[in-house]
């Protein structure tokens, strides 16, 4: 399950001799006998034999003064052939015109053919934020590993987080492409490329995208198996799983799709509010109401390996049981240290000063929920054709959770 065939051909790819117009001088012959001869002298000899002018680019002037040529032929050959061999022997690009021989270095020729190309790397799965998904807190349980209201974390946190601006291989590839003038604006990459380089890079990026955007699909089925029925639990074949699935009731199915290494969740359940807490505020009882969620939650993170998929998953199956309530009473009381006005009996127009006031107290009914809970977790190497069956005793039979990969 390797990702990406990064196939950018980086070897020097010379074009064939470029001929512009009618060049009968190319049919003249010459026997190459250059054994580490200076390139300048070689070019002069060829141009002289063809009786054409020679036009060297600035780079070619410099190269002609430094480079040497080792090219020997056993017989005279047309200049057309000699020039073609010279391109390989000297890394120059030659253009023949009726009157001239134009000489450029290979790099100059390549750079002249390059044109601006921009890639939105997100289209190839690079720089896309792969978001880990979390499920809300469920039941009376709590988990300290997820944080931020997460039900739980199917795996320990991964070291890397957030989008990768540009993958390592792409950086390397661009370096190999001899790209001094690249510009990265957000996820948009701007390069100067020849048509061949563009085609190769596009192919590589498309192949990368196939790996980076590949998803795996999972289905988690839960249900109750009637008491007394046979059951094989653990890692089983898909056939065993299918047989078991047909015997479960009521059946609940959660289907998830994840990118490589992404944590995804799915929930099927109910929620309601409950007054199940009390705060003491200013010497009085203040009801604390919060949501209570039950049902089935799945959280999984598949990570591709070479022989298998590393599957990390956590599940939560919560069923409310009959809940109770209890009453809390804060009795009325006189508060000391404060002053209150009390009307005098029979003299409504006047009042007397009395120390303290009477707090009427309050009565609060608090929910005491109860639940059946099962929170299995697994971390396993997942191979094709396998399924996972988890089980636990349930008040009405045997609870079963079945995990399968969808093709």
């Amino acid at each position: 399950m390797h990702r990406t065939c990064l196939c950018i051909v980086l070897t020097v790819s010379l074009g064939a001799l470029e001929v512009v117009g009618e060049c009968p001088w190319l049919e003249r012959t010459l026997r190459a006998e250059w054994r580490l001869a200076p390139l300048g002298a070689v070019l002069d000899e060829v141009a002289g034999r063809g009786e054409v002018m020679q036009e060297r680019s600035p780079g070619a002037i410099q190269l002609a003064a430094q480079a040497k040529v080792a090219l020997v032929a056993t017989s005279r050959q047309p200049l057309r052939q000699v020039l073609a061999d010279l391109e390989a022997a000297a890394y120059v690009h030659l253009t023949a015109t009726p009157q001239r021989l134009e000489v450029r270095t290979w790099r100059e020729w390549r750079d002249a053919r390059r044109r601006p190309v921009s890639y939105d790397l997100r289209q190839y799965g690079i720089g896309l934020d792969v978001e880990d998904r979390s499920a809300p807190l469920q039941g009376l349980g709590r988990d300290d590993s997820g944080g931020g209201g997460s039900l739980f974390s199917a795996t320990a946190d991964r070291a890397q987080a957030g989008p990768e601006p540009m993958s390592h291989w792409l950086t390397q590839t661009i370096r190999n492409l001899d790209q001094a003038q690249r510009e990265e604006v957000g996820a948009v990459l701007r390069l100067l490329l020849t048509p061949e380089e563009e085609a190769a890079l596009t192919t590589a990026l498309e192949e990368h995208a196939r790996g980076a955007l590949a998803t795996t699909r999972w289905v988690v089925t839960s249900g109750i198996l009637d008491p007394g029925q046979a059951l094989t639990a653990g890692v089983v074949s898909a056939t065993v799983a299918r047989d078991l699935a047909s015997r479960l009731h009521p059946v609940r199915r959660l289907v998830l799709t994840a990118l490589d290494g992404q944590k995804v969740t799915a929930t099927d359940g109910q929620e309601r509010t409950m007054g199940w807490d009390v705060d003491i505020v200013s010497a009085g009882m203040d009801p604390g109401v919060s949501p209570y969620r039950s049902g089935m939650t799945v959280e999984l993170r598949p990570t591709r390996g070479n022989a298998a998929i590393e599957l990390s998953l956590k599940l939560s199956w919560i069923e409310p049981l009959a809940s109770a309530t209890t009453a809390l009473i804060a009795p009325s009381r006189r508060s000391a240290g404060e002053v209150a006005l009390t009307a005098k009996p029979g003299d409504a127009a006047n009042a007397s000063m009395t120390e303290g006031y009477v707090d009427p107290g309050n009565r609060l009914v608090v929910d005491l929920p109860a639940e059946w809970a099962w929170t299995p977790t697994c971390h396993l190497a997942w191979a094709d054709g396998r399924a996972l069956i988890l089980t636990a005793p349930h008040p009405s039979g045997q609870a079963v959770i079945l995990v399968e990969a969808l093709p």
Binding site: R3, Y91, N306, A370, L388
Partner: protein, 368 residues
């Protein structure tokens, strides 16, 4: 006439051929002299690629007497990284690695599971009654991540395992990120690398499956071998649970009931502050298996809480005015935390109060 000309031209083109033996000596001369004489020995021309032309200026001394062509080519390859080959009517000299370099591709491979699944530690709640106000039965312990894969020496291991000797300098095995490695090689070699990585991962992707079964009869042993387990488990009902865990990792099973109860009250500055708590019961098993040559070493904690009875205790003022009702709890709790060495296919047997619970241990590998 035309046919004759074509035949002659073909003869000229194919006239060059490798000599049966090479007899050439150069003494303190540029290498170009040697390759030029090799070309003549082949009746061929010479084309030296620009990228290696500088190497032919190197002064060298060689003496070949009745040497085989392959030996001469081998020496030039070894001493100067030169590839010398006869192509039609000329001897071509190029960089030995140029061909290879042109065929190189880069591929990244996952390595997270290369030497086994990361051995994370996952534990579950403690079923013991929490201290009032505590969060004991609510809090799942955090997952303790596995140590990151130690990639020191991985590059050398791959080079030594996959066609050693076919990793010239232009190829590479390097770090891509924490979970992947980047290999630069030919497509053929990439295939070999992929095969080796797959086989290595498959070999190490070992998990332990622990199936918890309630036994109606005590077999009278703490550990059963595979045969004894077959006998003891005959007729047992559906499993109480199953734990799948990587070798040397930790995982758990728990299912049961949880209740929100008013367990305590604090009187603070004349006010009664109720303390709510979650209590849980059921069977909790935390298992850490390690595969050894003698069987599976099973470190386990089993805790069974059942027969829970809840009662009430009223809290009133001195004159009998009711304030609140505390929940009282009475239940049986049994617990075992020990280490067993379980033979392959066998089981560990635990006694928890009146119940006998077996943990059947099975090593699960990926199919070859």
């Amino acid at each position: 006439m035309r046919t004759c000309a074509i035949l002659c031209a073909t003869a000229l083109l194919t006239a060059a051929e490798l000599p049966t033996s090479v007899n050439i000596a150069i003494k303190a001369r540029p290498l170009i002299d040697l390759v030029d004489r090799l070309a003549r020995a082949c009746d061929a021309g010479l084309l030296v690629q620009a990228r290696v032309v500088d190497r032919l200026g190197v002064v060298a001394t060689y003496e070949f007497n009745d040497a085989a062509w392959m030996d001469v080519a081998g020496i030039l390859a070894k001493d100067h990284r030169l590839l010398v080959r006869l192509n039609r009517d000329r001897l071509e000299v190029d960089d030995l690695d140029a061909d290879l370099r042109a065929r190189l591709v880069q591929r990244s491979y996952p390595i997270r599971m290369l030497f086994g699944l990361p051995a994370e530690q996952r534990d579950t709640i403690n079923l013991s009654l929490p201290d009032p106000g505590g969060i004991g039965s609510r809090l799942l312990p955090p997952i303790v991540p596995a140590e990151p894969l130690n990639t020191v020496g991985l590059s050398e291991l791959i080079r030594a395992s996959v066609k050693p000797g076919e990793w010239p300098e232009v190829t590479s095995v390097g770090e891509y990120d924490a979970d992947r490695t980047l290999v630069t090689q030919t497509p053929d070699m990439q295939g070999q690398v992929a095969e080796w990585l797959t086989a290595t991962e498959r070999k190490h992707a070992v998990m332990v499956q622990i199936t918890l079964v309630a036994l109606s009869r005590d077999p009278g042993a703490t550990v059963l071998d595979a045969a004894a387990w077959q006998l003891a488990s005959a007729g047992a009902g559906a499993p109480l649970g199953v734990i799948v865990v990587p070798d040397r990792g930790m995982n758990f099973h728990w299912s049961g009931t949880r209740r929100h109860v008013l367990m305590d009250v604090d009187r603070i500055q004349g006010v009664y502050d109720p303390i709510m708590t979650v209590i849980a019961d059921g069977l909790r098993v935390s298992a850490s298996p390690a595969i050894t040559v003698a069987g599976v070493r099973l470190d386990a904690v089993l805790q069974l809480v059942d027969g829970q009875k809840l009662g009430e205790r009223a809290v009133t003022t001195a004159d009998g005015t009711p304030l609140l009702t505390l929940t009282t709890v009475e239940r049986a709790e049994s617990r075992v935390a020990d280490t067993r060495l379980v033979p392959p296919g066998g089981a560990a047997v635990y006694r928890l109060g009146e119940r006998v619970i077996a943990a059947a241990v099975q090593v699960v590998r990926l199919a070859p």
